[in-house]
Symmetry: C2
DNA sequence: GTCTATAGTTCGATAGAC
DNA sequence: GTCTATCGAACTATAGAC
């Protein structure tokens, strides 16, 4: 784009694209703070310092704006996740479960991270959408996250000996649930621990979350195996 | 209150209380479906079959209505959680970690459960509020859930040998995070597993979640212990 | 691409009768 | 306690000039 702005006559989209992106930035933050329904187009326009009508020119509707916000970061994040996963499996050594869980969580918090915030806005937006039951959130979750989710489920199935497909899906869901508790900077851990826990410190959280999730996964397998053995011994088919 | 309705002349609040509760029921469901900002007072009034003004008479503002909705069920749920926790510790035998985690989760899904729904409305409302960063949700979470949370953290600390206070708080937060993934009936597990997993089947979910969380907790302790030993051996104070 | 101005709707809340 | 009627503000979206 600096090549284009070198031609003085064509000032195509230097100013223009900046406004387009300013809108996305403002929307990301305000959607994250207030949720979809709580956010106002006027408010977003003011934060982006553009006319309200310009948002509709670029994104048509409020819903279109949300989708653009989600698409932009999701593609960054899930691209990075995919690359990390590929890298883990391309060597001759089998990756550890810990590496896979780390690859699951880290890109979400590192992509677009600004050190002046506890958490990037998009992370907070993701959390507020993730557990929503409305159709809008469901559609976006399916569209942008199901693909990569299946890749991680496959990876878990491949790396964890004896895990069933069903349990692999369950533990993936639980891992995401744990991740959510990390990504929403509610301040609650600090409050409940009299300051011992700091949910602004991502590295501290990751160093506890990864062992928790990995042990949880292995524990589910151990539990299923022991139940299966018990079943076989007693000869019952269904407990 | 049945003592009062026995006096025939005072018909204080039999019809009246029914409308009051119809409003709470309708609000609970609509808040759960649409979130606070997505829900409309008109919509709630219509669902409860009362005039919109009556809601303001009973609860003043929309925010007051939300608080009343939360207060009603939270007191039921956390009362039941407290009783289960007490019962576990009053015998001479020490409870298992599994019992504590079960006491943590089950009341939330069983209180107010109607068999015709996948999940009761309040559970869904809780999920949508739990990870919200807005002040309203923070205030309610602190007011109605911090007390019982501390009791569960204490219980974990007492039952799990070698766990630090800090880790006890972290794993409590993670457990809640996992619980959220169970309580929001998004349909995603079914989609990702081609129907193997059914997030409408609470018992199936609980039978995987409890081992996951308990193993996760024990894994965090094992990890912390091994790091501590490594530290002591190499003589470093901070890694 | 970007703006101003505004149409048309819906919102939360209140006044006042019964 | 419960209703009808309505106020004023905020909302999303669009028309049309530049």
């Amino acid at each position: 784009m600096s090549a284009q702005s070198a031609l003085k006559t064509r000032h195509v989209s230097d100013q223009g694209t900046r406004k387009h992106d300013r809108i996305l930035d403002a929307a990301e933050q305000i959607f994250a703070d207030s949720g979809f329904d709580g956010a106002g187009m006027r408010q977003i326009a003011e934060a982006a310092d553009v006319a309200q009508a310009l948002i509709h020119y670029h994104f048509e509707t409020k819903e279109g704006l949300l989708e653009a916000v989600v698409a932009r970061r999701s593609n960054q994040i899930n691209g990075e996740r995919g690359r990390l996963l590929d890298a883990l499996f391309e060597g001759e050594r089998r990756p550890q479960l810990e590496d896979i869980i780390e690859a699951l969580f880290r890109p979400t918090i590192s992509v677009g991270h600004r050190p002046d915030q506890k958490r990037n806005s998009f992370t907070r937006l993701l959390v507020s959408m993730a557990n929503s039951a409305d159709k809008r959130s469901k559609k976006l979750a399916g569209e942008y996250y199901d693909g990569i989710a299946l890749r991680f489920i496959d990876a878990i199935e491949k790396i964890v000996p004896g895990i069933s497909r069903k349990d692999a899906v369950w533990v993936y869901m639980f891992a995401i649930g744990v991740g959510m508790s990390m990504m929403a900077p509610t301040g609650r851990p600090g409050r409940l621990s009299d300051g011992l826990c700091d949910d602004g410190d991502i590295e501290q959280m990751l160093s506890v979350i990864v062992p928790f999730v990995c042990a949880g996964i292995r524990g589910v397998v151990a539990d299923a195996t022991s139940k299966l053995e018990l079943q076989t011994k007693t000869g019952r088919k269904n407990p």
